[in-house]
Amino acid sequence: MIEALGLTKEFRLFQRREGVMGAVRDLWDRDYQTVKAVDQIDLKVNRGEMVGYIGANGAGKSTTIKMLSGILVPSSGHLVVNGFVPHKERVEFCRRIGVVFGQRSQLWWDLAVSESFRLLSRVYRIPESVYRQRLDRFVELLEMADFLHIPVRKLSLGQRMRCELTAALLHHPDLVFLDEPTIGLDVLAKDRIRRFLSEINQELGTTVLLTTHDLSDIEALCSRVVMIDKGKIVYDGSLGKLQDSFGQGRTIKVDFSAPVNLAELHASFGHLPVRWETPESRRAIATFSAKEVAPAEVMKILIDQYPVLDIAIDATKIEEIVKEIYQGSVMV
C-alpha cells in the first residue's frame, strides 16, 4: 500500500538577525539554513494494516504524512502509495485516499455539516443512493444525528472530529492518514473514535496510518508502531516489541512479614545486577533489566529465602519509554 525508499524532505530556513541593525541587514542579506525534516526513511505498509506513526514535535511526522498524501513533493527518494506516485498523479491518487488533520478542519466552516458531506459526495463522485446509505451508517456509528444541520463553526471539538472522520471516509478510501485525530478530546470521545476506526478497518479493509501523541490510541488500534526522531525512523515493529526492546526495566515491590535489611538483600542477590531500596523496614523495591535478569529468578530467590507477604511486578509504561527515547536517554 505504501512503499517508500530513501524518502527525504529538505527545508531551507531563514534565520532572522537580532536587533534593529540585524533587521536592517536582513533586508538585503539573508541567512539560510538547510534542515532535513525527513531523512532517508524506508517504510512499507501493507493493505489493511493499521500503523501508528509516532515521534516528538518537529521529528518529521507531519512532513512524512504530507509527502505520503501528495501535499508535499519529496526532495528525493522513491515513493509509491496505493499504486500512485502521490504528487505526480495527485487528482487520481486523492480519489482513493482520505486525510484528517486534527488541528485543521477540512469542512466548510459556514456550511451545515450535511451540506459539507453532500459537497464532498459530489467532489468524490459518490452515487446518490450509495452516499445516502453510507452517510446513514456513519451517522449511526458516530452518533451524529443531533448536529447534522449545524454549521461546522458551531460544533464542539469532539463533534467536529467525528465529522472530519466522516468527511475523510465517505468515499471509502483505500488508505486514510489520520494526523492527531483524538487531540484535545475527552476519554469518551476518544473511545468512540477508536471503536469507529477499528470497525471501519475490519469492515472495509482500510489501511490506516495514524500519528498521535496519545499512545493509548496506538495501544487500542495499531498492531504496528513506527517511530521517527530527527527525521529518521528509529523503530519499526510491534508495540509489544517496542516495550521489549526499550521497556526492559522492571520493578518488583515486595512486602515482608518481618523487617529486612538492605545489606542482606544485596548479599542474596550479589551475583545478579539488581538494585535494592528499602523505603520501609518491611518493604523493599528491586529495579533491574529483564534482559539481564529473569524476573522469575528474582521472585524465586525472594520466596525461597524471605518471609514474603506480597509481590507486585511492573513493566515500564510505554509513555515513559517513548519519553525516554524522545529525551535521548535510550540509545537505539
Partner: protein, 267 residues
C-alpha cells in the same frame, strides 16, 4: 508621567521594529507609489498637450502637486482602522482593555511608530526616487517647506483620527471591510489626492471647505507649492489643527461609549 512616556516610547519602538521585518513590502512600496504617480503624470502630460494652463496650474505645477500629494500619503497613511476592526472582531480588544494602559493611546503610539518608520523607509527614499523620475519642482521657499512639514504632521493627526473612528465602527457592525474600503476610496478623492480640489466644480468646492478631508492632502500640498501664503496659510493650518482636535475628541468619546457598551453587554 515618566513611566507613561517610557511605555509610549516602548510601544513606538516595538511598532517600528515590527515594520522592519517586512522586507519587500516597503521596497516595492516605493515603486508602487511611483507607478501611481506615473499613471497620473502620463495622463496629465496627455491632458496638457496643446494647452499650458488648466485650472490656473501649469503642467509642472500639476505634476508637482500629484507627486507631493502621493509622497505625503506615504507618511500619513496607516492601517489603524483595519487593526482596530480586527481586534474587535477577534475579541482581542477585550483582552487589551484588561491591560493597564489605555487601548486607544496604545493604538495611537503604534501609529506614531509606524509613521516614523514610514518617514525613514518610505517617504524619504520615495521622495528621492520620485524627484529623480519626474519633473517635480522644489518647494516654493524654505518657509513653505517648513510649514509643509508642520502641515503633514497635522494631516497625519486628522487621517489617524478618521481611521480610529472608522475602525471603531466594528463595535457596531460586522462588515468593516467594506466600510474601510469605502473610506479609503472617498478620502483619496475628497482629500484632493486624485485631482486638486481647485479643479472641482465650485459648488462642490464650497461643500468640501466644511469637511475635514482637504486637510489631509490638498492643504499640505498647496502649502508646498506656495499657493497658500499669509492669512490663507494661517487659516488652513488652523482648520487642520481644529479638525485633528475635534476628530480625536470624537474618537475618544466614541471609544468610551463603545467600552461601556462592551463592559455592560460583555462584548
Amino acid at each position: 508621567m515618566n513611566a507613561w512616556l517610557k511605555l509610549q516610547y516602548e510601544v513606538i519602538r516595538i511598532q517600528f521594529m515590527k515594520m522592519l521585518a517586512y522586507r519587500v513590502v516597503y521596497f516595492t512600496g516605493v515603486f508602487n507609489y511611483a507607478i501611481n504617480i506615473g499613471a497620473y503624470y502620463f495622463l496629465w502630460e496627455a491632458i496638457y498637450r496643446h494647452r499650458s494652463l488648466i485650472g490656473g496650474l501649469t503642467l509642472e505645477q500639476m505634476v508637482t502637486y500629484v507627486a507631493v500629494a502621493w509622497i505625503s500619503r506615504t507618511f500619513y497613511f496607516n492601517n489603524v482602522d483595519r487593526e482596530i476592526a480586527d481586534d474587535v472582531r477577534t475579541g482581542k480588544v477585550a483582552v487589551e482593555l484588561a491591560r493597564p494602559y489605555d487601548y486607544l493611546t496604545f493604538k495611537i503610539s503604534g501609529a506614531l511608530g509606524e509613521a516614523l518608520f514610514r518617514l525613514f523607509f518610505f517617504t524619504v527614499p520615495g521622495s528621492i526616487f520620485v524627484y529623480l523620475l519626474f519633473p517635480v519642482a522644489w518647494p516654493a521657499s524654505m518657509a513653505s517647506f517648513g510649514w509643509f512639514g508642520l502641515s503633514i504632521i497635522l494631516s497625519f493627526a486628522v487621517n489617524n483620527a478618521i481611521n480610529l473612528l472608522t475602525g471603531m465602527t466594528a463595535f457596531y457592525t460586522l462588515n468593516t471591510t467594506g466600510i474601510i474600503r469605502a473610506k479609503h476610496i472617498s478620502i483619496d478623492l475628497l482629500s484632493g489626492l486624485v485631482v486638486p480640489i481647485s479643479l472641482f466644480p465650485e459648488g462642490l468646492q464650497l461643500w468640501l471647505k466644511w469637511l475635514p478631508f482637504q486637510s489631509i492632502a490638498f492643504v499640505p500640498t498647496m502649502i508646498y507649492t506656495g499657493a497658500l501664503q499669509g492669512d490663507a496659510l494661517v487659516d488652513a493650518l488652523s482648520r487642520q489643527f481644529l479638525w485633528a482636535l475635534l476628530l480625536s475628541v470624537l474618537a475618544w468619546a466614541l471609544f468610551a461609549i463603545a467600552r461601556r457598551k462592551m463592559v455592560v453587554q460583555g462584548g
